[in-house]
């Protein structure tokens, strides 16, 4: 029931922009505005803006903050200069995934973690449990609103909304500025495979910044986009979704995220299990699947068959608006996960061929156009 759901600062504004609102993980969120296919293609060609205010913002500080984060996260926090960020994962003792997140070093001894909305409480509990003396942890998720601005025209959208003197951060970097409308964090990261930004402002200023970021629409083509397009965009580029493609039972190595797992950096939670997998190999791998020809769209939890036997199930699936084909991801036994293998996906009782594909299944156009 809508009244029991959590709301972002913009939940009453979205319908004014034509949003269709749905329940998502306990939140009342826009699933689409003009339509998922159009929003998806707008992001690939021009720009789109997503309300990501439901995501969590954690601040961790202190002289031992780096050491602590390096102990609970699997990427190497030590390499981050002030103003830099990295994709990383919070692992349990078995090397399984609690959450995937962005970690930014915003000051010498202060870090911002941006975590999945569905995992805010769990992540906070885990961090609190492991927090040593001298490190401060603050969950400020309710105080911050966030927008993802994604697409080739996203730099123009940001420049139009911010002062001319503002220098856009480089890829995977974050700028922290004060504005007349409160403090801002502007990170050059995203979940779509395009050039883009994740922009955080205080919750009380959310409406001002939403409007300001959309103001350049006649020049930049920026349009509001919902969760439906967010899912098709990230799936096309093979990005995993926690709760679907990531889980506490699978390690990031099985998920194909080895570049973000720095096993040799020293001790961290989950390391022992990862070491074993590096030595013995992983039992299964998260692969991309591309349907052959015109098929119904694959969805999550459809059986995957190889040579007549069920070998797994899809963890994510959808139509790819850019490729005009169905795409999916699934954990398949290592020996079957060879590129080019033909598998079948059982879609409501009918089997359709799909090719095992590398991730990303779709490669966005290069940034310089």
């Amino acid at each position: 029931m809508e009244s029991e759901l959590k709301k972002t600062p913009l939940s009453s504004i979205h319908p004014q922009f034509g949003a269709r609102m749905v329940e998502f993980g306990g939140w009342w969120m826009p699933v689409q505005y003009q339509g998922i296919l159009q929003e998806h293609l707008a992001v690939r060609r021009l720009a789109g803006i997503f309300d990501i205010s439901h995501m969590g913002e954690f601040f961790i500080s202190g002289p031992s903050a780096c050491e602590f984060l390096n102990h609970i996260l699997c990427n190497d926090v030590r390499i981050l200069q002030v103003g830099a960020g990295q994709y990383t994962l919070l692992l349990n003792e078995n090397g399984g995934v609690i959450d995937d997140l962005l970690c930014y070093r915003i000051e010498d001894q202060k870090y911002l973690l941006v975590v999945n909305a569905s995992k805010i409480e769990e992540d906070a509990a885990w961090i609190t449990r492991h927090l040593p003396e001298g490190v401060t942890f603050s969950d400020e998720s309710d105080s911050w609103a966030g927008f993802a601005i994604q697409g080739p025209n996203s730099p123009a959208v940001l420049r139009a909304a911010l002062q001319e003197s503002f220098e856009l951060p480089a890829r995977n970097h974050i700028a922290c500025v004060n504005s007349p409308e409160g403090p801002l964090f502007v990170a050059r990261t995203g979940y779509t495979g395009e050039d883009g930004f994740e922009f955080f402002c205080t919750a009380s200023h959310a409406a001002v910044w939403w409007t300001r970021l959309l103001a350049s629409a006649p020049q930049t083509g920026v349009v509001p986009c919902g969760l439906g397009a967010r899912d098709t965009l990230r799936l096309e580029v093979g990005y995993p979704l926690n709760g679907s493609d990531l889980s506490p039972e699978r390690t990031p190595l099985e998920a194909g995220l080895a570049p973000f797992v720095k096993i040799d950096k020293g001790e961290f939670i989950g390391r022992a299990a990862l070491l074993k997998q590096r030595e013995n190999g992983v039992p299964s791998k998260l692969v991309g699947l591309v349907m052959e020809g015109k098929t119904p769209p694959p969805r999550a939890h459809y059986p995957v068959l190889f040579e007549g036997n069920v070998v797994g199930e899809t963890s994510s699936g959808s139509l790819s608006p850019s490729m005009e084909k169905g795409i999916a991801m699934a954990y398949l036994p290592l020996e079957i996960s060879k590129l080019g293998n033909v598998v079948e996906i059982d879609i409501r009782g009918r089997k359709f061929n799909a090719l095992v594909s590398k991730r990303p299944m779709y490669k966005p156009q290069p940034e310089s156009k």
């Binding site: 998922i36 296919l37 439906g228 015109k294 098929t295 119904p296 769209p297 139509l319």
Partner: protein, 127 residues
Amino acid sequence: MNVPSDLLYAPTHEWLKREGDLATVGITDHAQHELTDVVYVELPAVGTSVNAGDQICVVESVKAASDIYSPVSGTVESVNDALSSDPSLINSDPHGNGWIFKIRIASGADLSHLKSPAQYAEQLGQA
């Protein structure tokens, strides 16, 4: 929502246009709006016999697959092949070029269980 006055309606949001003992069937403007972008239609097989209310085919959007029910008993005479290459016709022209199948109405079958435009509009909460 558009509710054309020359059609009959099932409460499950299919419309029917009768021409003698042949009927054309599709889904309504309300249904396509709820579904959002249609990306795939699993058309029924020509020659299939169904009873009124049987599930007969599937229309898929990005977010969900939706069962379509035959408003009448009969045998499928033809299907709209255009939907294979352009499923979005269901969104852009649900009562016209987005038709899904034509069905030969079973002899003795009557359509009195179907709703008039006014009754369907009332179901939708429209005046």
